[in-house]
Amino acid sequence: MNFLRSRALDLAVVLFGVSVLTFLMIRLIPGDAVAIMLGANTEVTPDRVAALRSRIGLDQPVLLQYFSWLGGVLSGDLGVSLWTRRPVSQEIAGHMWPTLQLTVLALIVGAGLSLPLGVLMARLRGKAWDTALRIGSVAGLTIPSFWLGIMMILALTTLAPDWQLLGYVPFSEDPLGNVAKLLLPAVALALPILANLSRLVRSAMLDALQQDYVRTARAKGLSERRILYRHALRNALIPFVTSAGIMTGYLLGGAIVVEQVFAIPGLGRLILGAIAERNYPLVQATILVITFAFVLVNFVVDLLYVLIDPRVRL
């Protein structure tokens, strides 16, 4: 219970800090919303600029803007998008599912495959295959997802020209199409995670295999398989879960780029567009939501420790 309370307090402090930072930073970028709205080629008189500014509330002092925004957020109102006048909460809700799906899919692909791959690498330690896989994982770490994405798109148009792989359809509308369209971006997004986690599993496994309890288990005559999966892997899981949790946070960041390449209308696209058009309420709220998700994931990771290792007490 104490743990929950201190976590809730952490969360509140982090969210407050992030809200202040975002609020100030987006306003420090030169060129305000009105300048961008009117662009470089429109015919506008200063009084129209003033009218527009007051229409979207930018004529107020920044501090006042912040507190009126904060007040809104605390009462559950995230504000309205400056351009479309839609409630920000609606915009975020509309863009949340694709990102969530993409992240989960990438996590399944990345983390899911990294376990068997890491174990395999540990078992093959020093052999040619291990070296090949390690080189491959370095490549996986260094190739940027967006480049990989574009290459995948180009390759697939030649190999499978009928695969309508771009864009997004909601799962409820067309489940197969939904997965078909998200698969490729998820793989592009998952590759660095896969590379990273499989290396981690490999070294954790090697580490575990040198421990005394493994020697004991061997002495008892347990099968190698049982030693690997029952004893060693279980102990290797703690650093794995920690890393996978942090990776989930990075996945959200990577999703921004991958969504752009594959034209997926997720939070990443939303936030890129919002920054470009200086859509302050939208930027602020989206970053807040992403921060919230990040903190939430870390919390879940902590809970997982208990399940993996009964010695851990929260």
């Binding site: 970028i29 030169p30 060129g31 305000d32 300048a35 709205m37 009117l38 662009g39 470089a40 429109t42 015919e43 506008v44 008189t45 009084d47 129209r48 009218a51 527009l52 229409r55 351009w83 479309t84 006048r85 839609r86 915009e91 509309g94 863009h95 399944i108 692909v109 899911g112 495959l113 376990l115 068997p116 174990v119 574009i150 798109i153 180009l154 148009t157 499978a160 009928d162 695969w163 309508q164 792989l165 771009l166 864009g167 067309d174 199409g177 997965v179 078909a180 698969l183 490729l184 690997l228 999966y229 390449v261 034209a263 209308p265 696209r269 939303l270 567009g273 470009a276 058009e277 200086r278």
Partner: protein, 505 residues
Amino acid sequence: MARFLTTTALALTMGLAAAALLPATSQAQVLQAAVDASPAGLDPHIITAFSSFQVVNGSIYEGLTGIDKDLHVVPALAQSWTLSADGKSYVFKLVSGATFHDGKPLEAADVVASLNRVLSKDIASPLASRLAAMEKASAVDAGTVEVTLKEPSAPFLTALASIAIVPRAFEADKDGLQRKPVGTGPFKFKEWQPNGFIELEKHAGYWNKGQPKLDGVKFNIIPESATRQVGLSSGQYALLPNIDAATALQLKGRPNVKIADTLELAYTLVGMNTSKPPFDNPKVREALNYALNRQEIVQAALFGAGVPGGPLSPALKQWALDVKEFPCFTPSAAKAQELLKAAGITTPVAVTLLVLPRQDIRDIAQVVQAQLNKAGFKAELKIPELGQFVQDWRNSNFDAFVSTNAGSIDPDDYFYRTFRTAGSTNVFKYSNPEIDGLLDAARIETDQAKRKASYNRVQSLLTCDGPAAFMTYGQLFTAMRTNVSGFDIVANRSLFSLSTTMQAR
């Protein structure tokens, strides 16, 4: 456990791959277009982003007048009009049978409300200045509108083409149309998934019988150029409107893809700050003009897809002067050096060029930089982020800038705000009483020949030692699948011809 994991992962991957290869269901007669940016709102009186115009103008909304593919003003919701002898009063007859997408018939009161809405301070419409000449609009009867002007206005009919007619219920509503547009056009709004797509469906009661031919148009929002190209090649998209030369060249010759092109109205320019050295000196401005090799810019930065041009687009055949009339269009580094010497300036002249952060403009700026450096300048490029560019540009915080200026089908629109003393986009801080007089006179001149003479003179005055070195007019491209027909590409980038577009299965 490993076996379990491997099996699960394998099954998962195979299942996903199988799902991916299933043929997608084809939608009947809904044209799939791919555009690069999400519209920023859909209210035709408030929007300023091109991504918004592209979707709503001509397809959802119509004006009293329209612009045809040859850039002439033609009747639209007004089937005809008369102008009083003093040039100050128009009477418009509305087409019969036009209805809004909400089912209500179009009446004169809607037109009056729309014009008033644009002028209203509350709405803060950036289009308001287009109606600056308007004194008052009134409904004579349900099918007739009278508009009186403060003074005769030559560009007024052109301006009306950009003023969408909306239902009168929205006159004081600032937000309603941003999300759910209601117009009279051939297509009505169906669904908008921000950053995903915006879908329009056929307006069954459209007044222009026999149109539209399509059941709908879906604008898929695809920011990456490579992704759009792949989508067109694979047939997922049927139309990529208004693409640049680089994309068009890459798509040229692909199976089942055809390209349409036309000359742009927008031009690229080097704008100069005439309020401070060195460009306060006309000789330096002239030297810069001589330093530019426009043909080389077209070849190097526009892939040959464009032409050198002066203050008006060569596409406006009835207005634009031939570039042969401009001596400084014959490049000469020696002449440039000579002019700088005559201006009493020690070379090289150090200047910073503020560059619009857009790929084609960046490319052009690099060529310009090289050319200037050969002719006695020492040019440095500054490529800021867009918000910073707009801010510096608006505040005239530059020696010179490389950018693009939007065109129009009327010379008044090109010149008045940009080059008249204290014009709203005269960021050059340029002032020339002769030009001011000519622009004022041409604006209220109803005699076409006299108007033309004024603008000829303005073009000569602006070129070579004016505040802007006019450079190029690019070719504008649209790529489509070969089974798409009836689509006309228009220099002002309007997609109004979607109403006559067809797609064979």
